[in-house]
Amino acid sequence: MAGPAPAPEPGGSRDGSAERLLLDATRRAVRAPAERVALVLHLSRLGPPAPEPHHRRIARALLTEAAQRLDGQLFPLGNGDLALLCRAAHSRTPAANEPASLRSNLARLFGGEAAGPEAIVSLWPLPGQADLLLAYAAERLAAAEQFGAALRRDAIERSRTFSVAIPPEPAPMTGLPDFPEMLQRRTGALVARSGGTPSHALRPLFRELAFSSAALSAHYAPASDTSSDPWLLRHFGGRLEEPLLALIEAALPGSGPIGMAGTPPGFALHLNLSTKTIMKERSAHVFRLSRSIGVPIGVEVSLVEAAAMPEAFAAARSVLRRAGLRIVLGTISHQALLLTRPQSLDADLFKLDWSARLARLTEPDRGALASAFDAIGRERVILNRADNEEAVLWGLGHGIRRFVGHHVEVMLAAGRMLACAAASGCTLGQCSERAASATAPGRRFCRNLSLLDSGAPSAAPS
């Protein structure tokens, strides 16, 4: 960007001062003879988890540059929006409508993160549409004055990896007593229409044992926000895989949170493993054990690892195929699905992460996603993070029947409670939380552990 270096890390006005300055500047601009224009980039309208620090950083850099070029002034507002007051056109290139061009560039850049490109940028010529800008600035000022304290509390920027300090290497895990606390049990279920009625039947398909990122981060680096460094988390997770396999080897044939005794035939255990661990002898032991007791195993490898180490992934895939295990390709975002062809990696199941943005894709993206599902086969797609009804309904509407997520856990809990003689006094939330726990304390108050661990099919309310 031409000119001086961009402004330091953005942090908008938290006390209404920028909003006041914007109001004053707008009033002056209305009285001034030269035509001005106001451009507002509504970063506050970006869908979560945006706006992320890099959105704010780059928006501010682009608008700072535009302000220098167009004799403008930039106002970083308390809600994260950026308002630019500037000349209507560049004096040296009068034909070029730079603010309009800037608007379309910003809309293209940020529009994908917002409800739509038109919602993310406002362009108000002054004095013609000064009333719109004045109303907007007044509204922002009122909000800043009213919620200033709350805004200040929220002002702590989420740090990203650049500021994540490296924690010390933890000691090798030798004992297992507190280890299951980092484990989460999740159930993958098939949602099927039952007998032509509008209700759905739930059939648990597999139990998944996975490490909680938050618990990993808290355990290994309580003083550091490692949750925002995916590579450190992978490093930590990798260290726990062998202890996890040891735990499974000991507990798999029995009952309890890790055991699979009493589960229906075909009910599988899914594990997240790195390609390195898959090749180890410990894995081979567990795979042999599972075969001997008739518990199918599915092994999930992340798409990122498969892409980072394709040779290792291919070798691991061969090992799993020879062992007759199911290969799950996990951590697939819908953007990754639109950008790539993960089906070429020859996995059995593909775990797509739900995002609220799936429900508001553009028409071309909807078409591309449908094509991707066709290429993979909808029966091989698992919708992961189906934590709410919207996710499940979206999946069902797109022909997906396999789900993992909190909403599924609650639906399963509802089915268990209907069948449980000891459920009085329990809530849905308690039942689903106990089912997700891999520790004795987390399951302590359940009076029907055999049902909790059964993986039995259930009819759940739709």
Partner: protein
């Protein structure tokens, strides 16, 4: 101008023979080539006098039209000539047959030791024979993988290290219509192996892939800082740098963008890795659109052959695909390349260190190369 390293005559001859095949194709003419492959002999069998004998054996053909002898790696010899020289050729073959008819140890078949080609028709077969044998790396002592303590120490050391001593460049060349290689851009990077040797010699930096990924982000920042230094880029040719997506979205990149001379705007290639793109696809999309708006071009690097069907360049919205030459790549069906990009001029063949690599790449229609066999003309 990029300084050309001085090449040993064997390497020059190898490149010349490779160029012969290419030149013949471009000019639409033919040459005959006889290749004597001492490199296939068991090491204990080859003696220097065999080479001298073989050269003597080739003499009858030395008088053929446009005849030239090429000394190749592994003591191999080739002789190329124009037109029909059947009688002289028969004499040569008869002498060579005697030469290779010595008793034990068992030798490869004569047809393997002495090969005959007509280029350009047999260019790929010739190139496969010319492929430099994989250098046998001395067995490095096994070192423990990078751990958090070592990573932290490296990052602290990097914060104040003079990075210019680790800075390296490689030429990326575009083959022009006359078959010459012209510098398209330079690849600028920090030598990870030297950083490892200097700062953590007792650890294998890539031993833990995830900590290594983390380290690359630190290296990105240092490289960007190096390139942002005053006058660093004032007379720089177009160049490419490999960055993490997150680095593109960092303050260090914005500083670099400010420091970029106007003449280089639109000439810089940013190279990304598949795993990094997939690690945070929304961030990648944002970064891609941001830098494209700033005039940068984008390349996908580090693509293993097995990933080709998974990574369609048009869907990713990138300009170039960098592939590293390997026998695995060379054996991939064309459909796999098509799956990634049907536009061959967008594919850059890295590791084009041998005539085989170069010829394979040219046969695929590539025009962008990096490697010892594709050095730029001055």
């Amino acid at each position: 101008m990029t300084a050309l390293p001085e090449l040993p005559s064997v390497e020059l001859d190898t490149m010349a023979l490779s160029s012969l095949a290419r030149d013949c194709r471009l000019a639409g003419v033919e040459r005959q080539v006889l290749l004597v492959r001492f490199s296939l002999l068991p090491p204990e069998y080859y003696r220097p006098h065999h080479g001298r004998l073989a050269e003597s054996a080739l003499e009858p053909l030395a008088g053929a039209d446009r005849a030239r002898v090429y000394r190749l790696p592994g003591h191999d010899l080739a002789l190329a000539w124009r037109g029909d020289a059947g009688r002289q050729e028969n004499r040569v073959l008869a002498t060579l047959a005697v030469l290779f008819a010595e008793p034990a140890p068992p030798l490869p078949r004569f047809a393997e030791l002495v090969r005959r080609f007509t280029v350009p028709r047999d260019a790929e077969r010739l190139a496969a024979c010319l492929a430099a044998p994989e250098p046998i790396e001395p067995q490095a002592p096994e070192r423990p993988p990078l751990d958090l303590a070592a990573l932290g120490a490296i990052e602290r050391a990097l914060a104040s290290a003079d990075m210019s001593r680790f800075s390296r460049r490689r030429s990326i060349c575009r083959r022009d219509g006359s078959g010459q290689f012209r510098l398209a851009w330079e690849k600028r990077f920090l030598s990870v192996s030297e950083i490892g040797e200097s700062l953590a010699p007792e650890h294998d930096l890539a031993g833990d892939p995830w900590l290594f990924r983390r380290l690359t982000r630190t290296l990105d920042r240092r490289l960007l800082a190096l390139l942002s230094a005053p006058r660093e880029l004032s007379s720089a040719p177009p160049f490419a740098i490999n960055l993490n997506v997150e680095s593109i979205l960092s303050p260090a990149f914005l500083t670099f963008d400010v420091a970029l001379p106007a003449g280089l705007r639109g000439e810089i290639v940013l190279e990304l890795l598949p795993a990094d793109i997939l690690n945070d696809a929304p961030a990648f999309l944002f970064a891609r659109d941001f830098v494209r708006g700033r005039g940068y071009r984008l390349a996908l690097g580090g693509v293993a052959p097995a990933l080709l069907p998974m990574l369609p360049l048009p869907a990713l919205g990138l300009d170039f695909l960098e592939l590293r030459y390997s026998s695995e790549l060379a054996s991939m069906p064309a459909a796999a390349l098509d799956a990634a990009s049907e536009e061959r001029e967008r594919i850059l063949l890295a590791g084009a260190d041998s005539p085989a690599a170069l010829l394979w790449g040219e046969a695929q229609g590539f025009v962008l190369f990096q490697g010892r066999a594709a050095l730029p003309v001055s």
